[in-house]
Symmetry: C2
Subunit: 377 residues, 2 copies
Amino acid sequence: MSTDSSPAFPGHADTAEHTSLHPHGTLPNDRIARVDVPALLEEGRTRCAAGLRAAVARLASPMDVAAAYHFGWLDVQGRPSGRTGGKALRPALALLSAEVTGAGDGPGLPGAVAVELLHNFSLVHDDLMDGDEQRRHRDTVWKRHGPETAILVGDGLLALAMEVILEVDSVRAAHRAARTLTTASRALIDGQSRDLSYERREQVTLEECLHMAGEKTGALLACSASIGAVLSGTDDRTGQALWDYGYQLGLAFQAVDDLLGIWGDPRVTGKQQWGDLRRRKKSLPVVAAAESGSTAGQRLRELLADDAGHGSHAELTDEELAMRAALVEEAGGRTWTLQEAWRRRNAAIRALDSVSMPDAVRQRFVAIPDFVVARVG
Amino acid sequence: MSTDSSPAFPGHADTAEHTSLHPHGTLPNDRIARVDVPALLEEGRTRCAAGLRAAVARLASPMDVAAAYHFGWLDVQGRPSGRTGGKALRPALALLSAEVTGAGDGPGLPGAVAVELLHNFSLVHDDLMDGDEQRRHRDTVWKRHGPETAILVGDGLLALAMEVILEVDSVRAAHRAARTLTTASRALIDGQSRDLSYERREQVTLEECLHMAGEKTGALLACSASIGAVLSGTDDRTGQALWDYGYQLGLAFQAVDDLLGIWGDPRVTGKQQWGDLRRRKKSLPVVAAAESGSTAGQRLRELLADDAGHGSHAELTDEELAMRAALVEEAGGRTWTLQEAWRRRNAAIRALDSVSMPDAVRQRFVAIPDFVVARVG
């Protein structure tokens, strides 16, 4: 789906507006295009790899081995693996945010390590709670090392994240960064709690759904995008603006992820077609469709009520899945979610307007939300 | 078992020695006897109750309800319960340690709340990992609210502990207290990890056993006994001495707990007779006996090897349990553990020698280890 010429996406109009209104705001498109975002993400992951491994090695046995397996550093037989762990937004954002002061990204390193630890805490525990047996085409930690070890590994990673941040030399910076990290960790846990309780409910409102996405995805990217700046000793206002940027980026990311969870090409995403519908996930497109007030939305509500009413966990057939996907689309759930991704992308970029930073740093900040939404249009 | 007249317990000799050698050290027995430790513990729990409830209420649903159930504030039907939660060393120690500076115990309150949150994080997760269905004569959280909620509640309590501490006004005090708390949380998690891995092994050395007890019990009481002082702005040396005091107290407590786990009177402890033997726990008396080199110790080793070798989890009969208890005693495991409790009690009191504090505060610090060891002799 291309959005280049569509007036339905306020993103483009907004961007143009802000480029002209704010001399220190967003950059012209020709400069944005030059940022190699995949390389930026890869570099972030590489830069924090040593610190991450050193942190994980502090865990007692068998947590250390199970965590190394989770990160892909050990294969299923426990042998060193050549896996790099792929690309990730979080460490790249943490390092980039340290650069807003104009110094290097060095102070952001413990922040990058801490957000990775925090993120992986939530993956390990969520996989167990959700009963997911596979992650990145390998058995999940609980499946490979047992539920007890998975609980311990998650606990260990959460505590380690805090430990790494509190070891930062500057007491003031360490304290502020630890508060940022704690806010994100509490939000992650609250979000997962709501997610599980919503799964048992027939109806979830779009507001609840967005709030939960803010907790599960927004807060961690908000933390990532601001923790480096906090560690570099920037002022509270800048820290807050970067938090807001990351939060909106997280919501854009979630909207995109939810679109891919239904309509993503399995050859690109590596996930099953209609995967989120298969798992009866109340994702943004589904909830937006159900709330649309349209006939298709009403039909979808009835199907969701049937699911809940009968406590049915029977597998849905491909015909049923195709029908549900069509209903979501007909009720406007797909369009709304794509627009939402653009709205959040715009809000993220707008949040940068009040922050003064070197041009090259701003350029990279702006390129990231564009990269995120480009995955769907 | 009475130790009043036994020369086998170095505790008594040491105490006398230190009372005379250190004018600011331990107090004469007649003053120690006057501290009402049960009242002190009850008061600690009462003092932090409001703060604890306010912290737990921050958790998203259904964690808030499940956590309130765990703390005993709600009954199984979710109705408010009159349970006070009983007595506990941790909050009392945190409040007492705030008083070493001569000010009130006020600055210790967030510390008392935080150590309670941390302790209960470990209870909720450990119950799930250990498959324990009952705690304080009620279903455990995972049994009542499901494993997913138990994982979340534990995660939430761990994150809350950090949040509460980082909210303390003084940045320097909050930072030091957060480091203290993180050290304890990492030790708790490492200790539980070792505990689970030791359960799968045939032999555990006494050194490993003590190290693990230091992590699981020592570190949390060390944190409790020092976090109040840290929050009161005391110097590092005092903080370290109080940490050492709490660590040794924790090991004394564990030795006593392990004795009661085999020979405790079920009418007093509320636990099954020979409970730790029933659960084939490699507790201090068992490991000390197995390492004794005696004939009884050798026989015990063979039984433990049989347990491990046959992967047997068949229930042991009362005859078998009585025989094992007799072997542990004959091999000196009971005596060694009682002596160890006294050695640790003495080391705890010695650690106070270097700390200057008001007499009334010292009196209470000294009375606590005495109260702990008095449970067994």
